[in-house]
Assembly symmetry: C2
DNA sequence: CGCCACATTGATTTGGGTCAAGCGACGTGG
DNA sequence: CCACGTCGCTTGACCCAAATCAATGTGGCG
């Protein structure tokens, strides 16, 4: 299978340009209203400071399947995820791949660019994704003037480490059945916090489920079918399922 | 199996106290001569600044098997590894455990204490280990006066993430044989840089090898025996082996 | 319609887990 | 000093979970 999309760029569109207001003005407003801000980088900025940097921070809509950034090409910006799911992928020499993390709303990606180091992974949109692209120059500027940003940044590093370790113990430990149950339960949790109605989990492709759990697409498919027969999950449409959180948890935690 | 040693403390001894010089003086000299310094936190400090903080930074010798810090008890200090190997362990609800990282010379541990967050793992000495215990108060003090320390710290976070992702793709992906080959090759590399003579790799216990690779101790044992029969490794004493780096690499990278 | 990508299901093989026995090194106590 | 128990390693026999190989199904789209 080929490496699919190249570096993001031409294929990304600007977000809903009403063309009436100036681009800068639009961005300023978008930043002021941003619902992600308190969780992400720029919590401490005053409205006027926000307006100052906003013009340099475009938001992009990335269609599913596109590459945000690449392991080789080192980006010159951070990405803050506002909507959708991004997979961080590690391609192995033999062409197979392993997903090392899923990122969603409020997650900050490509942190390593701040150190001038290349990312050790590739970031691809799993669903349609909306991200803010924050040039490192902007980050550096703010960081010089606002000491708290360093702490904020470190917090995101911390999250990255924590999730990486969790990923290992959750999705690379125990039997396949167990791991699958954990994945579904986790996906449920992340979904549930976002949307209030009865949470229907959006599943990645079987290949991707396999790359998350370190199993083949066939086993992934079989397990999900099996879960469906056991009533653990309930298919609502092609890619969405309702899950029985409680019973999944039992399987996830079972010692056998 | 019981959780073994409690939090470090009584069982650790101060390093070689010649009792002639004052403790503070000893530590100051130790810091000035430190061979780890350029790689770790305090690169940028002048000798006099170093002397200032040195008294607050004890170095400890931790015997193999002891616990440096615990997942629950959140430490109030960072640890810089000067000698030996530390395993970072994640204990699972069913009593089994998984090793999520090995730390050695120049690695900085318990970074999360700087954020006031508990560590998500337990750190145990795999061999006898020598560490510097840097109280967070010291780190904070230096950080206020020296801006570069933040960058330095972030660098170590970066290492932590990088190693975590590498761990996943190296030791939790592919067949057991392949993973074992990768582990031995990696251990070889780390060994080789430290000691110049023909590098003999020091292996962890079979249980620990299992906890690293996500396999049972029996499979670990079988694989190593098998490697020995194939001449891939050569037992020199109870726990040390010479390895055939090249042939291991082949196995590690093979698609099958 | 017919193509293509993806999902499902089956048949078969195999890698690795499990259970169990034997073995050498070490420390402790008689 | 040797007997004994313990602990970690090795090896074998057996079995099951998951990989592999392969066929069929299904939905979307030009």
């Amino acid at each position: 299978m080929s490496r699919m999309g190249q570096l993001a760029g031409p294929s990304m569109q600007k977000c809903s340009s009403t063309a009436r207001q100036s681009e800068a003005g639009r961005r300023a407003q978008r930043c002021r209203e941003c619902t992600v801000r308190q969780n992400a980088l720029f919590v401490g900025l005053s409205p006027s400071e926000l307006d100052e940097i906003a013009p340099a921070v475009p938001d992009l809509v990335v269609p599913a399947g596109e590459t945000l950034y690449d392991a080789e090409t080192h980006a010159d910006a951070l990405f803050i995820v506002r909507r959708g799911v991004v997979k961080l992928v590690n391609y192995l020499p033999d062409g197979s791949y392993r997903i090392v993390r899923l990122a969603r709303r409020t997650d900050v990606l490509a942190l390593e660019t701040l150190l001038g180091e290349p990312c050790d992974h590739t970031a691809e949109a799993l669903t349609e994704v909306e991200v803010c692209r924050v040039p490192i120059s902007v980050v550096r500027t703010v960081m010089e003037r606002q000491a708290w940003l360093s702490t904020r940044m470190i917090h995101h590093w911390h999250l990255a480490v924590q999730k990486a370790h969790g990923w290992l113990t959750h999705y690379a430990t125990g039997g396949a059945r167990q791991r699958m149950a954990r994945l579904l339960a986790d996906l449920h949790d992340e979904c549930a916090s976002a949307e209030s109605p009865r949470p229907a989990v959006e599943l990645p492709s079987r290949d991707d489920v396999g790359a998350i759990l370190g199993i083949t697409k066939e086993t992934a498919s079989r397990l999900i079918s099996d879960f469906r027969r056991s009533g653990l999950v309930n298919k609502v449409d092609a890619r969405r399922v309702e899950v029985d959180r409680m019973r999944l948890e039992e399987i996830a935690g079972s010692d056998g």
